[in-house]
Symmetry: C2
Subunit: 557 residues, 2 copies
């Protein structure tokens, strides 16, 4: 793979090359029509509606916009603009040519996007309908699996399939295995058979095996899709008369040393392998109410603006700055204002827009949880780690809160505090279904209760440490040294071992389909991606399409 | 690593080189005193009570014997015979020199043994107490983590530690990360800090952080260990007057082509990469009752004998025959007799010995579930896939049941049947906490009910297929061809992809600490084991102890 250009995740429908987004009343149609020549890097053609990261960036953008810009949309139909092909999945030449990290990162993003589709169905009243009007193979079927209802055209040739194992020697790693078993409830032996059968399964058998919900003959296709879309729309609680909020282009400047938005600044420190991220709290008090005040219903609304910036920053750093292994989070502002915005959102949960902002923040923090970077929160005087912004510290692998103040710099400052709010006690669940606070105190009910009781109280370092809400509370004298050692030490460890450590420790307690996808399925896939049987010069992924059979080391591991 | 000799898992206390097993009334003491020169392969010394597969085979044997041969034992104290060292964990030179498959297989077995320790505590009234009388690092601390209660000597030098990440660039993969978070409930940020601190943590802080249960000064050590052992023993429901059942040496013949026991025969087919395994049902009706009949209380008792053989076979094949990727299970005998033995066991669950046999069968089937081999069950006339033996078919990735009979060979035979019994409906849970039948019908309550209702009914192929209990029901004409194609096709796929596929599809539904260890933790560890940062020539594992620092590719993945 040639040198990758810096990947930019910001886009908009008018710039899409691979998707068409059309809405008609409560029904939106997302048509996949991939531009073969539109690969995000050179060296492959995106034939048969196969996709790469660039295609998926557009899909992600569309899913986001539908939630914010289209309150009227209640069903989203995903279909194909190509004849007889729904989607052939991730482009194989792209996968074969990509370095390990690119493959893993690409899969993570596509997984997050599919989880976002399920999140819209579950929490937004926007139900996704897969109108599979041609063959859906591999990632193409996995895209359908993320939809609530799967319709397959019954034309004696179209089928759904997971040919990754037989053809490529890898797994259906974009949720495929997990959703087949845990969502579609396909019996395990049938699932096994299906996943070894490159040509897939269509027609009635696909319905019988639960691979799809219905198989519809071509003459009745359009009508049945419309019917089903209308039925799903009828179940939705989206508003009848809501006005969309345009996701206008964010202001962002980006060079080799810094990424700067309105509310977030990231400084990239290549010498020490870390990024210093500073998040600004709101400058003003929140408006009185979501419904009443037009200032809230805009992309400038602080909770939405800061979430969009954080989301973009995570994606940018994750994709473009793989050698910066530690992210250090600071905040700056008035904790009371953060809590006031939180309160406004939570009091307006029935409002569709407030609901969208809350779930977007939830998803963005989840993105942080599965990010393979060490996360450190640094809590200093003048910071606003309260409520929603405290989640950054709760998501961190370690946190440091200054005991007292910086005597040299500002002896009269108020000491740093953290404040738990209602935002920490429910709405912002991790993908394991628990809040970060619950996960932190998993198995320690008394610890959880003791902390939760101190809600809305500004806690200085000693209290916060006693309650187990932060990791360390060094004073002025030790502060710089402790943080320096922590970050330098982190940079000295094996990046791979850190990834594994964090992927385990961040997810105590129960597992869900989502954590199974990132923990079990992705971990096996990453292992396979690193094995000569897949990625070696004679491996299945590299040999696909060459006419030569893969050569396998037959040892089972 | 030099050519590995064939590994034999059968051993007995009189042959132990690394452990001493002593019992005194209700208290057993297992003393680890590793023979430095006793490595199972050459090339390393087992210094500082470090262990390799050979050491762990003895531990596994001791844990098993304690359950069967020592009904009087209620507490098992694990301690060290070395001065100031409890156990240094897996031997690093062994790990560094081992091929990938050996490392993975070794870790799997050690994980199973530690799960077995927890199983004895939970289900056998034999509670394990870790008397950590010196430093416990890495796998040494992980061994303690498998115990119910951890005592650490408080001598200002002994500590517990997980130095894998900082020193070796790998994970504490023998349950370490999972048990620290999900069993000990160590807070995630403290766990993170602890796992990056090579020297570990001792004394009161280890107690405060929940890493150990108590820290006891040397002068009070012996007395306190004895006290605690007695307390744990007092909670047990083990019998006062039970008579142990000697696990006498199994009869086994083994060459390159076959492994033969009294009840199981395995033929190794190196050309096709498969093993044909035939399990014989009981020859006679069971005795009238467990308590009354001395014939039951012996290693010859069919359910125990066949379980021991299956256990040994799995371990032998898994370790010694890594290129035989498909195991084909057949059974032979009278289904009624299998069900009669099952009934005897289930009716005697309150009897300690019946309880042990049941849990041993449960554990052995769990070993099958996590075995990275494709499992196929072939159900023919004359077979006895009923109750406990039906679990082999339910554990399989696919099953074939002959519809009708072999017209050429034996037109007058009774058609093949399968029979569900009570043994399939509760006691033999998988590590996800569900039975194999529940896992099979996960999300399909109606399917589960329909099948369970047919309990004790001999089901021919068509019925079994309709109920979803088998995968395919070919007739005489297609039989050989279908099975041949299935096994040949399996042999043509990437062995790694099959491992990943099976590790996902076999575990639908909920996750437990045990499935998290095999699914999440082991998968990440295997990935790391395969990465240059650990196992490459300049990786941390290979460079440990050379005086040279590891060289890392700093890209985070």
């Amino acid at each position: 793979m040639p040198d990758q250009p810096r990947v930019e995740f910001r886009t908009a429908p008018e710039r899409y090359r691979h998707w068409r987004l059309a809405t008609e009343g409560p029904i939106a149609t997302l048509t996949m029509d991939v531009d073969e020549q539109g690969g995000i890097v050179s060296g492959y053609e995106l034939k048969l509606n196969s996709y790469d990261l660039g295609v998926d960036i557009e899909l992600y953008d569309a899913v986001q916009r539908l939630r914010f810009e289209h309150p009227e949309v209640r069903t989203v139909v995903i279909t194909s603009g190509k004849l007889k092909i729904f989607c052939a999945g991730a482009n194989i030449r792209m996968l074969a040519a990509s370095p390990h990290g690119w493959k893993v990162n690409f899969c993570k993003f596509t997984n997050e996007t599919r989880n976002g589709i399920e999140d819209a169905t579950a929490h937004s009243g926007q139900t996704y309908l897969a109108a599979v009007n041609g063959t859906a193979s591999g990632g193409g079927y996995e895209l359908a699996l993320a939809c609530e209802h799967i319709m397959l055209i019954d034309d004696r040739s179209s089928a759904v399939s997971l040919p990754e194992l037989p053809l490529l020697g890898v797994l259906p790693g974009t949720g495929g295995l997990t959703r087949v078993s845990d969502k579609r409830h396909v019996r395990r032996d049938l699932a096994d058979y299906f996943s070894t059968r490159a040509e897939g399964i269509g027609g009635k058998k696909a319905v019988q095996w639960r691979l799809v919900d219905e198989a519809v003959p071509r003459p009745r296709w359009d009508e049945t899709v419309a019917e089903r879309a209308a039925e799903l729309a009828a179940r939705s609680g989206r508003p009848q008369d809501g006005e969309g909020v345009a996701l206008t282009e964010m202001s962002k400047t980006r060079d080799d040393d810094a990424i700067t938005y309105d509310h977030i600044e990231a400084r990239l420190d290549r010498d020490t392998g870390k990024v210093d991220i500073s998040v600004k709290g709101p400058q003003n008090d929140p408006p009185a109410g979501i419904a009443e005040d037009p200032r809230t219903r805009s992309a400038e609304f602080w909770p939405l603006a800061v979430t969009r910036e954080l989301d973009d920053l995570i994606l940018d750093l994750r994709t473009n700055e793989t050698e910066l292994g530690t992210w250090v989070f600071r905040t700056q502002g008035d904790p009371a204002k953060v809590l006031a915005y939180d309160e406004l959102l939570l009091n307006s949960k029935d409002n569709w827009f407030a609901n969208e902002v809350l779930h977007y923040l939830k998803r963005t923090l989840r993105r942080l949880d599965v990010t393979s970077r060490s996360l450190i929160a640094v809590i200093e005087p003048g910071s606003c780690f309260a409520g929603s912004l405290l989640e950054l510290a709760l998501a961190a692998d370690r946190s440091f809160q200054l005991a007292g103040v910086f005597e040299d710099k500002n002896p009269d400052a108020e000491p740093a505090t953290i404040t738990l709010g209602d935002m920490n006690l429910g709405p912002l669940t991790m993908s394991n279904g628990l809040t970060r606070l619950q996960t932190r105190f998993w198995g320690d009910e008394a610890g959880y209760e003791a902390a939760a009781k101190r809600k809305n109280e500004a806690l200085e370092a000693e209290d916060a440490a006693d309650l187990g809400l932060i990791t360390f509370a060094p004073d002025d004298i030790d502060w710089d040294e402790e943080i320096r050692i922590a970050t330098e030490e982190r940079a000295s460890f094996s990046p791979d071992a850190l990834t594994g450590l964090e992927a385990n420790y961040r997810f105590a307690g129960p597992e869900t389909m989502e954590t199974k996808i990132f923990g079990r399925l992705s971990a096996w896939q990453n292992w396979i991606f690193n094995r000569p049987n897949a990625a070696g010069p004679d491996g299945a992924l590299r040999r696909f399409g060459t006419g030569q059979r893969a050569v396998f080391d037959r040892k089972r591991v």
